[in-house]
Symmetry: C2
Subunit: 283 residues, 2 copies
Amino acid sequence: MRVFDASQAARDRVLDDVAGRLADLKGVGLIDDADAILSRVEVCDDMAAVIEGAKYVQESVPERVPLKQEVSRQISELLGPETVVGSSTSGIPASAFTEDLQNRDRFLVAHPVNPPYLVPVVEVAPAPWTDPASVETAMTVMRDVGQSPILVRREIEGFILNRLQGVLLREAWALLEEGYASADDIDKTVREGLGLRWSFIGPFETIDLNAPGGVREYAEVLGPLYHSIDASRSDPEPWSEALIAKAEAEMRAKIPAEGLEERRNWRDRRLMALAAHKKSQER
Amino acid sequence: MRVFDASQAARDRVLDDVAGRLADLKGVGLIDDADAILSRVEVCDDMAAVIEGAKYVQESVPERVPLKQEVSRQISELLGPETVVGSSTSGIPASAFTEDLQNRDRFLVAHPVNPPYLVPVVEVAPAPWTDPASVETAMTVMRDVGQSPILVRREIEGFILNRLQGVLLREAWALLEEGYASADDIDKTVREGLGLRWSFIGPFETIDLNAPGGVREYAEVLGPLYHSIDASRSDPEPWSEALIAKAEAEMRAKIPAEGLEERRNWRDRRLMALAAHKKSQER
């Protein structure tokens, strides 16, 4: 695996960063031989070297359309005849930055979730002009490196993951705004309730197992309740300044701003332990 | 703890059922002394005996308003002056079946999630006339038995948990209906992505940790994207027969109807292992 970054400082950090994370993964038993993995990572000093002969390129520049356009153009000109390019973006469709490329049939979105080495899902989202063979290559590469790719069959704002997160967040913010529950009680409803099943079966399988007759019976019995809930939120408002301030006050009372970085490290340790737990269950 | 059911057959099963689940819990190290716990469970042959002298009564009859009204009236007439009554319901507000009771200030909803001994959250939702002291009793009892109660401050359809589940399901069904992804890929987006963090931090803490400046920065940067996603779903449709059939076909291709019961047992074993994992992390 070859890595390139336009910043020399970033390039200088890569191997140390990777070595640190490999040590963590080894610590929880998720990998055996950290050195063997590290020896496969090569940092390159220019973009041509990183792309030459590659089967697959993952582009991960910041999420600004003009920048994605410019970097995709540079990659396009260096691209061999078989190479496929996936872009790390949680919100910009591939059609927004690949339309004018000569080999645009080999560009698509491959949206990983942070941190990708602990969260397996990758959303593979082709543009209308992406070759199905390029999609297949991206899906296969992702499976081969141990990720769990899903296929977003047509472009849609927010892809799948952020749409699902977005609608849940919207309801969470609305319940907070209207005073039905505190932010922490809403969080608790998920972390001590809904989120448990969702960490190993998704929303469809959850309801499929929640009625004797499966998803059909569940939908027939509970559909009217859910439709009524949905209909009560038919006029979405943007999150207001007052509402953001309310959430911020509650979150900062729980963890002050200066504690966020340590809490992020704790989250990553928990994600790593959860990954090890899930692996032990799936054996 | 005392238990009563109107059905003799149900009463005859209670101790065996509890013993079986205690054995499972002991198997994964979640409890030490199953016999000591079992010896505290007493099955009563009439409702008066189960209520007499109790600090707290959990009523768990099926979710039909007339039945809840009738059983609540029976409980009300047997209730000592200090006893609080919580009703297991995922959808019926306490005001729908307690309005005419003489001691309605001691009735509320306490909504557990199946299976309650593996999913800690309990939604405590008072009616407008519930005494705050009764709410406090219910919250304390739930904490004392190892559950995680949350307070639903005012009555709302679906309480918190099913509202959050409902909006995510609605988007999942819509994405399936419009062909953006398969049901299994939507499930995978949650079980290999969103659901991992949500199993130990909720939606607010997730976004609070996902921007350097916390929830405020996240909301300011990503609010417009989420509002745009929400606005694209402003006219909810009921789940159609054709859509239910589509989901059912995919789910039954994965697990046939005759395999659902075994899959539910697998889910409960996974939930139990996850509970043991979370306990080990929280030490």
